[in-house]
Symmetry: C2
Subunit: 119 residues, 2 copies
């Protein structure tokens, strides 16, 4: 029997911020964890919704028409095609649910694009 | 802008155990929360994997060939078709990710089948 994945321990072991690690797959969706701090890039995902769940800390999802503040225990789903920019003033730890194969920088691409990696 | 869903507050408001509430949708997947306590029924889901993430407490996933013990922060995915029986000695609060339309009792059906409900 494979052991469960501890999200806190997995997060502790990720050296970089903004570098998601896949922790599970449900059908065609990946569950990923990431440590985030600072501002990310504006981007959208044309073919997938993206759930943000805050495991620890606080973060903001900037949207073109407002923003959503998330605290530990909060969930928000960015609908496909909606431009967003995650940011966190201090380190925040999150769980993401999105289609397998989704690039962290979406349509924006660029230097902050992280490789797809299992934990 | 719709506000985030607080999982702890949503869980506090569910009167029944073993009665999931949908808190979000990502493509064809539902994210659900549930309070569980005691033993559930043996069942499987032929057409969906099912992720169990423990928000608070401890639970066990009984499988035909062993069991998996999960604590707060742990994740385990039951592959489609695999018979399982969740149980918790004391109240445990979980987040589930599975295909939209999945019945909590899977192929077993019966009196513990809960209606599909949004939080």
């Amino acid at each position: 029997m494979r052991p469960p994945v501890s999200l806190p321990r997995t997060l502790d072991a990720i050296p970089e911020t903004w570098s998601p690690r896949i922790v599970g797959q449900v059908n065609d969706a990946h569950l990923k964890v990431a440590r985030i701090e600072g501002d990310f890039v504006w981007h959208s995902h044309a073919d997938t919704d993206e759930a943000f769940y805050v495991v620890e800390g606080e973060m903001t999802l900037e949207l073109r028409d407002g923003e959503v503040k998330l605290r530990a225990g909060d969930l928000w789903v960015v609908p496909r095609g909606v431009e967003h920019r995650p940011r966190a003033e201090r380190e925040c730890r999150i769980l993401l649910v999105e289609r397998a194969g989704t690039q962290n920088t979406g349509d924006a691409g660029g230097p902050r694009t992280a490789p797809e990696r299992w934990a």
